[in-house]
């Protein structure tokens, strides 16, 4: 394979994002002996710390520093990458809110292929890479042949690739800032508004009753609330419930919501999109109740029940109340 490999590394507050080693692992799936060059953009003292810490994992680090790169604005980073990447490069990017912003447009400007949200890489065959993606809400996987003859931008699903920490790469930092030139943005970053905690802090509970689209309507939230109350647990939810305005955003578990670390997580009528699962940490006992036996949640749950939550949850509430000598309604 003649394509040179690169990984665009995200960082925040002087700390390299966890995805850096995942991008390394994805590159190893294409070329086990080669190693990608890290590309990192930023500004200020924090940024020097980032470049230094990458030396442990990458043999070569290209740093591009400029005052207007202090905040990772995808429009500016794209201009940088178009100028520094050699033809036919394969660039790995994490499929997070930044990678979603950057990569599709970048692939057009590089005239390269774009493979989005990649779960697995099966290898290289001639001028193509064989990779795996999910479609239809994670219900089926698709095996894709991606033409890399004119290069590719490959967005990697967070958490899908794992690598054991190897010996230190003792990498070299190369300053490529001079190659970049003037940068102009038509989209200008103003500020970040931090999410509110809300009335109930779902990150502080040992048991979460988490409801998804299967709860069907706002009035049915009460069914989950009653169960939570009988157990001394809290009710959290998945994205569709917030989108429908049935619960506050502060109750949402997932990559765009809260990260929770309960001991028991009861997923009720939740299909199990990876964005939701990304918010469940600390390996809780995951119990899934869903009326669709093919719901992806059953692949990751510890215990599964195929049932209608609108019937099952009241039954469970009654069971709890009985056991505790509470009034059974």
């Amino acid at each position: 394979m003649t394509n040179r490999m690169f990984a665009y590394i995200g960082h925040k507050g002087g700390i390299v994002e966890d995805s850096a080693t995942e991008l390394l692992a994805a590159a190893k799936a294409i070329d086990a002996v080669g190693s990608p060059t890290a590309i990192v953009t930023g500004w200020g003292p924090d940024f020097d710390v980032v470049c230094e810490s990458l030396r442990a994992s990458f043999p070569e680090i290209w740093k591009i520093t400029h005052p207007s790169l202090a905040y990772a604005n995808a429009e500016l980073v794209r201009q940088v990458l178009v100028r520094v990447l050699p033809p036919q490069s394969i660039l790995f990017v994490s499929h997070d809110h930044f990678g979603i912003d950057l990569s599709p447009g970048l692939s057009v400007k590089l005239n390269a292929a774009f493979a989005s949200d990649v779960l697995a890489i099966e290898g290289v065959e001639g001028g193509s890479v064989k990779l795996v993606r999910q479609e239809f809400g994670g219900q089926v996987n698709a095996r894709i042949r991606c033409d890399i003859s004119s290069g590719a931008v490959i967005n990697i699903r967070p958490g899908a690739f794992k690598i054991a920490a190897g010996p230190s790469a003792s990498g070299t930092v190369v300053d490529k800032s001079a190659a970049v030139g003037a940068l102009a943005a038509r989209r200008r970053y103003l500020e970040t508004i931090v999410a509110e905690t809300g009335d109930v802090d779902i990150t502080k509970h040992n048991v979460l009753i988490s409801v998804g689209r299967g709860i069907q309507e706002k009035d049915n939230i009460a069914i989950a609330e009653e169960l939570a109350e009988s157990l001394g647990a809290a009710v959290s939810c998945s994205r569709p419930v917030v989108d429908a305005k049935w619960m506050e955003k502060s109750r949402q578990v997932g990559s765009s919501g809260k990260t929770v670390r309960p001991k028991v997580y009861i997923a009720c009528g939740i299909s199990g999109a990876f964005q939701h699962l990304a918010g469940i940490k600390g390996s809780p006992l995951l119990i899934a109740i869903n009326k669709n036996p093919k719901a992806p949640i059953f692949q990751v749950a510890d215990v599964g029940i195929v049932d209608d939550i609108l019937e099952f949850l009241p039954e469970l509430t009654n069971r709890v109340r009985e056991a505790r000598g509470m009034v059974v309604k």
């Binding site: 057009v108 894709i144 989209r187 508004i193 009654n318």
Partner: protein
């Protein structure tokens, strides 16, 4: 403001159990329930709200075939001013880039200040909006979850990690990919759809769009789907198959022992 919303008709994953066909090269499409791609519906609602605030027109467009007319008609019933179907045999087999190429050629035949797409469709790639913006050389923002109007620009919020919101200002014309939850899409009933039943929906093909056939369809694809397979469950859940009350009993027991609940 002239607003274009790019929409797509997709199998409704909340209504369907998706099965793979016998050949393994597609999903079983008989008896599937189709609907408008959910994020696209939010995008249309957002376009209507902006139009109602500042004036102008909302056009909805899709790349597809005759079957896709129903989603365009539904968005007309919702309040869009006009709808256009981009259909041609030559578009069949287009990957995300091919779809963006068709949309670009349509956009260049008109004038739009703002172009919206849903954040992603049934293939979950979240790619067409960003590709389209790059082809048009317009600024772009993904995962947009609020829009307010400024003079000659927009103030937007993007959904970033942890429920945080990234606020930016973006120049017009631009392309935005809209995240679900940005608004509450209005209800569309059968009556509304009947009222727009006779509204003509023009169809444009490859020659109307003056497109090079080598840039769209299966011939232009950089990504090719080899086959589909069911995700391999490394472990999978221990399924409780007892009666409802027995299952409830078991779950209660697990919550007590593992959840530290007394």
């Amino acid at each position: 403001m002239e607003i274009l919303v790019c929409v797509r008709r997709v199998p409704d994953t909340s209504e369907n159990e998706i099965e793979i066909n016998a050949a393994g090269n597609d999903i079983e499409r008989d008896e599937l329930v189709y609907s408008i791609n959910e994020p696209d519906n939010y995008a249309v609602e957002e376009a209507l709200k902006i139009r109602d605030r500042v004036g102008g027109k909302v056009t909805v467009v899709t790349v597809g075939g005759d079957d896709d007319e129903e989603v365009l008609r539904r968005q007309l019933a919702m309040g869009a001013n006009q709808a256009v179907l981009l259909a041609d045999d030559a578009f069949t087999g287009s990957d995300g880039r091919g779809i963006a190429t068709v949309l670009k050629s349509f956009i260049q035949k008109g004038h739009y200040d703002l172009i919206l797409t849903g954040v992603q469709a049934d293939d979950g790639a979240a790619q067409v909006g960003g590709m389209l913006a790059a082809m048009l050389d317009y600024p772009f923002a993904s995962l947009v979850n609020s829009i307010s109007d400024e003079d000659g620009s927009l103030k937007i919020s993007r959904e970033i990690e942890g429920g945080n919101r990234e606020i930016s200002e973006i120049d017009l014309p631009c392309v935005l990919s809209i995240q679900t939850g940005i608004n509450e899409p209005r209800y569309v009933g059968m009556r509304g759809i009947r009222q727009v039943a006779s509204v003509p929906i023009p169809q444009l093909g490859i020659s109307d769009l003056e497109l090079d056939p080598a840039t769209v369809g299966a011939v232009a694809e950089k990504l090719h789907r080899i086959d589909y397979f069911v995700p391999f469950a490394s472990q999978g859940a221990e399924m409780l198959t007892g009666s409802r009350d027995k299952n409830a009993e078991k779950v209660f027991e697990l919550v007590v022992t593992r959840g530290g609940i007394r």
